[in-house]
């Protein structure tokens, strides 16, 4: 079989194997140089702009029309927070009713949710409560949520006022942003804020129970000094 050289992604691994799966696997293994990993989910009604929002954040690109997400997809972005590398695994979900069963299966293990509605679409706003119920039913108890009203660049088509968004957020006890993936308004801020909230929550439970998070799932390195992590595992 043909040899595959993965030069495109600045990764020096050259895999002499016909199985692309193996190549990907090694790439993933080489990708382990992070201090924490947070799994985040973007949820909300169909076509509120979840995929665009994610692409804006992860790739800093915008296309007016993405293919409607089939089931579930994800992107990875690594950010620095308090001198720690935080790898964000961000899952993008299909908003259609029929996909509920499939997507809710992924709620478990998510540390944060971006619950999105479209300020130009009343129905998507009315569904927010349903989505919150879904989170409560299927996610971990201390998963963090941020409410996002997307497409705030389309002011002339707005049907959900900022006040209503704020009110709802207050009622739900979550933070609220109005964003635009198109104009890149508050996209980064939402993710950064969510990461901060999760970090705060983690250190909070650390304070109350020091042993609690030590050895935790993927975030297990929280309590350990990031010893040598800057030098190890980096194949670049």
């Amino acid at each position: 079989m043909e040899t595959i050289h993965e030069h495109s992604n600045n990764n020096s691994i050259e895999v002499e194997d016909e199985m692309t799966g193996d190549a990907k696997w090694q790439k993933d293994a080489a990708d382990q140089n992070f201090d924490y990993m947070f799994k985040l989910l973007i949820i909300g009604n169909s076509s509120v702009g979840k995929t665009s929002f994610l692409f804006r954040y992860a790739d800093d690109s915008f296309t007016s029309a993405f293919v409607s997400t089939v089931g579930i997809d994800f992107k990875v972005k690594t950010v620095f927070r308090h001198d720690k590398r935080v790898k964000l695994q961000i899952w993008d979900t299909a908003g259609q009713e029929r996909y509920r069963t499939i997507t809710t299966a992924y709620y478990r293990g998510a540390m944060g949710f971006i619950l999105m509605y479209d300020i130009t679409n009343e129905e998507s706003f009315n569904s927010v409560q349903d989505w919150v119920t879904q989170i409560k039913t299927y996610s971990w108890d201390n998963a963090q949520v941020i409410l996002v009203g997307n497409k705030c660049d389309m002011e002339e088509e707005r049907v959900v006022s900022t006040e209503r968004g704020m009110q709802l957020a207050e009622q739900l006890g979550v933070e609220f942003y109005e964003t635009s993936a198109k104009e890149n308004i508050y996209v980064k801020a939402v993710f950064e804020r969510l990461v901060d909230i999760i970090c705060d929550k983690m250190s909070e439970s650390l304070d109350s129970e020091p042993a609690m998070l030590a050895g935790g799932a993927r975030g297990q390195r929280l309590t350990e000094p990031a010893q040598g992590s800057s030098t190890t595992n980096c194949n670049c």
Binding site: S46, K75, D141
Partner: protein, 818 residues
């Protein structure tokens, strides 16, 4: 003068000879300054305080000795209002008030700070200099030198916080301390002797010692005394300890009673009290009111105004629940196959999957054999648990196998996820399963059997459990005691697996048409077979569920929602595997496309069903039902922008979808494969992973037991922690709760309605005295607090006399420079 010379060079040469000692002093000053402890930079002590101490420390080297200088302060409830003036007087006044107030406490009343000096002298902040852990400060000369150092540093920075030095061996509570301002010096002294000196063995001797230490004259009979005599009552069984035996007697066939097995043990079977300390307390009297000298003593504990009780528990006492749980927890390190314990791995095909075909596992379950009464002549596996014991156990776990069983599962199996009334339960973060459902029963039974008979017993139960499940699958008999529906990820994995198995069994039942009242498929099959025409016309609609409102298709025909296949039910480990697989693909566009294709199986199925139900449908009709926001009403129906993108997964799937009703499609859920997988999964568990499956229910059942025993509620919340860790935390929480429950029980037996450390009521006093046999032994410890306010300040001294003697004192003198 010589302005050309580089001054920098000159002034950085050290012409002085700085001794190590001077460096030591300077270093202490430097640290104290850094902590801002001079009088001018400290705030007043007044205000509200919490009970929490905060500390900071620095290491300091002197000659070959390493010291730790630390500063400890009680946290304020509110940050102080900084406007208040501080001066010499206010610092000293605060200090004296503290000393005076603290004299109502006794030496052994501690306040949670790292050193006892704060409770001895009523301090809210203090500095402590300790030698490093392995070298105590015992050398007299060195002690003097260190004290001088402290004195100089203290004076140099005009420190506002009392300074203590820990001297002598580490186990000795000996601290020398001092505080100074321009007019006064307060000395904090400690004497610790291994024996009691004659002069100090009684109150009158202590009073004269106290007076001799005070420089200024003291009025006659001015010294106020508090006394506490402590009596250790070791005959604690006199407090009628209620023994609760919960042995493994259910194992003997005679005494067998499944009910004994249902309950997890709880509490200690031995008296966990080590000793009861009775404190006879005289809070306050004048020095002459009670005579206590070397020859005569008027002190009689029965006359003491106050009696309090302190319980000392054994360091280790057995907590039966925790022991049972910990034994199972220990299995988490055993990676052998559970069936290896019985030597069955090979015959079950667990070593090489290919053997499965040639050596068929024994699939007839014990329960069936029992029903058929033919357990004798069949080639059979004989486990360590005798049949007489095993059968009732199995009937307990699978009560539907016999008629008139006393252990039927509740009709409605409720899974409680979140506290209804907001009260947190112990171990609420451990995944649950229906209370007293099958998973609970098999888990608790396994724990008790393992406790009683070791791993072979556990393995035997597991084996029989798997056999029964296998039999039920093969004969389409639902597993009882499991919540209805698809695997619920909020329940524990074992429960999910059984839910999945039940899904398979139910599906198998539907397939054979033996489930009455259900079904779409039947309807369809009957219908098609009833047709004479073998070939269905391509445009004959099939598999319709209902009209979609009054919507019509682009061609004007009414739009129908088709019957669809439900997505395949999955357990959480399968979902994790799926997610893992998707993650491995990476996050580039290609991988994304691949994922979309992986995920489109159910999309395709739905499209095919839709096409079958709506002959002549176009993608826009489908989208109108499936993803309404991608549908535009223009011209009777059109696709939104996203659906028009070239090569998108929706359009592609639509182009390959054939009109096939759900009933005729390839199953998204292959029940045979899934059921076999569940059964293989269970059979092939290692010891550790079997323990992992059983522990959630054991822990939750333990928590329920603890609540029944009066443990109020838990306080721990958890998230984002792996299974193993969750178990450890839960086990620890239960252990603490169990210990606390034991202790609470002891307190109740000893104290009745009184509280520990609070004065006993009359009934309590007579009960304790009765338990002590009517008379108290010689006091184990005597403590005296002497205090007086002379013309300078309050002076205080305490003496604790046990087998050793500790005397501590705070004396203030006026420093007059003539």
């Amino acid at each position: 003068m010589n302005e050309e010379i580089d001054e920098y060079d000159i002034y950085h040469q050290d012409f002085t000879t700085v001794s190590e000692w001077e460096v030591f002093i300077a270093r202490i000053e430097e640290v104290l300054n850094e902590w801002r402890l001079s009088k001018s930079s400290l705030t007043k002590l007044s205000g509200e305080y919490t009970k929490k101490w905060t500390s900071k420390s620095e290491e300091i080297q002197f000659q070959s000795n390493k010291f730790i200088l630390s500063y400890h302060t009680l946290e304020r409830a509110k940050s102080p209002e900084n406007s208040e003036e501080t001066d010499d007087k206010s610092f000293l006044l605060d200090l004296h008030n503290g000393i005076w107030e603290s004299t109502t406490n006794f030496i052994d009343d501690l306040d949670g700070s790292p050193f006892p000096v704060s409770s001895w002298y009523g301090l809210k902040r203090y500095i402590m200099l300790c030698s490093y852990s392995n070298t105590p400060l015992v050398d007299g000369n060195l002690i003097k030198l260190v004290m001088s150092t402290a004195n100089i540093a203290f004076a140099n920075i005009d420190c506002g916080v009392p300074f203590f030095v820990k001297i002598r061996e580490h186990w000795q509570p000996t601290y020398l301390g001092f505080y100074e301002d321009s007019e006064h010096k307060v000395s904090f002294d400690t004497i610790h002797l291994k024996r009691i000196s004659n002069q100090c063995s009684h109150l009158s001797g202590l009073v004269s010692l106290f007076k001799s230490k005070i420089a200024s004259p003291v009025a006659l009979d001015a010294v106020v005394v508090s006394t506490k005599f402590s009596y250790e009552l070791r005959e604690v069984d006199a407090f009628a300890w209620k023994k609760r035996t919960q042995s493994n007697e259910f194992l003997s066939v005679d005494g067998f009673d499944v009910k004994k097995l249902l309950e997890l043990p709880f509490g200690s079977d031995k008296n966990p009290i080590h000793s009861v300390l009775l404190n006879a307390i005289w809070p306050k009297f004048r020095e002459c009111a009670i005579v206590d000298s070397s020859t005569f003593s008027e002190i009689d504990p029965l006359m003491a105004p106050t009696w309090t009780i302190t319980l000392k528990m054994r360091d280790t006492f057995n907590c039966q629940l925790s022991e049972t749980i910990n034994k199972v927890m220990d299995l988490l390190d055993n990676n052998n196959l559970l069936m290896d314990t019985l030597g069955l791995s090979k015959s079950l095909g667990l070593v090489n999957p290919l053997h499965k075909i040639t050596e068929a596992p024994i699939t007839i379950s014990k329960l069936v054999k029992a029903a058929m009464g033919q357990s004798r002549h069949m080639t059979d596996f004989k486990g360590p648990i005798a049949d007489e014991l095993l059968m009732p156990l199995l009937y307990y776990v699978f009560p539907d196998a016999v008629e008139d069983n006393t252990f039927n599962y509740p009709e409605q199996l409720e899974v409680e996820f979140k506290p209804v009334d907001g009260e947190q339960k112990l171990c609420g973060y451990v995944k649950t399963s229906p209370e007293d459902g099958l998973v609970w029963r098999v888990s608790v039974t396994a724990a008790r059997l393992f406790d009683a008979g070791g791993l072979p017993y556990l393995a035997h139960l597991w084996y029989e459990f798997c056999q029964e499940l296998q039999y039920r699958w093969e004969h389409s008999i639902l597993v009882p005691g499991v919540a209805e529906g698809a695997p619920n990820a909020r329940t524990c994995l074992l429960h999910q697996k059984l839910q999945l198995l039940n899904c398979c069994i139910r599906r198998a039942l539907e397939g054979t048409g033996s489930v009455p009242g259900n079904s779409s498929e039947d309807e369809f099959f009957d219908c098609s077979e009833g047709e004479n025409d073998e070939q269905l016309p391509w445009d004959r609609p099939v598999g319709r569920l209902s009209r979609f409102g009054d919507a019509v298709m682009k061609n004007g025909a009414p739009l129908y929602i088709p019957r669809t296949q439900d997505p395949a039910p999955k357990t959480e480990d399968q979902l994790e595997e799926d997610a893992e697989l998707m993650v491995r693909l990476g996050d580039d566009a290609k991988a994304s496309e691949l994922r979309a294709r992986m995920m489109s199986a159910s999309l395709l199925s739905d499209m095919e069903a839709f096409k079958a139900a709506n002959p002549g449908a176009e993608l826009c009709d489908f989208v109108r039902w499936y993803s309404p926001r991608d549908w535009k009403p223009d011209g009777g129906g059109a696709l939104g922008d996203r659906m028009l993108l070239p090569g998108n997964a929706w359009a592609e799937a639509w182009s390959v979808a054939r009109p096939v009703p759900a009933a005729r499609q390839r199953r998204l859920f292959d029940e045979t494969r899934e059921a076999e997988q569940v059964l293989h999964f269970l059979r092939s568990r290692s010891v550790s992973s079997a323990a992992e499956l059983l522990l959630p229910a054991i822990l939750r059942a333990g928590a329920v037991k603890a609540h029944e025993e009066g443990v109020p509620h838990g306080s721990t919340t958890l998230g984002g922690v792996d299974t193993r860790r969750t178990f450890e935390i839960a086990a620890r929480e239960l252990h603490d709760a169990e210990r606390e429950a034991c202790r609470a029980l002891c307190l109740r037996t000893v104290l009745g309605t009184s509280e520990e450390g609070k004065p006993l009521d009359v009934a309590g006093r007579s009960r304790v005295l009765g338990a002590a046999g009517g008379a108290l032994p010689a006091p184990a410890r005597r403590e005296f607090t002497l205090r007086v306010r002379d013309c300078v300040a309050p002076q205080a001294m305490r003496a604790a006399l046990a087998s050793d003697m500790t005397i501590i004192g705070a004396f203030t003198e006026r420093v007059v420079c003539l």
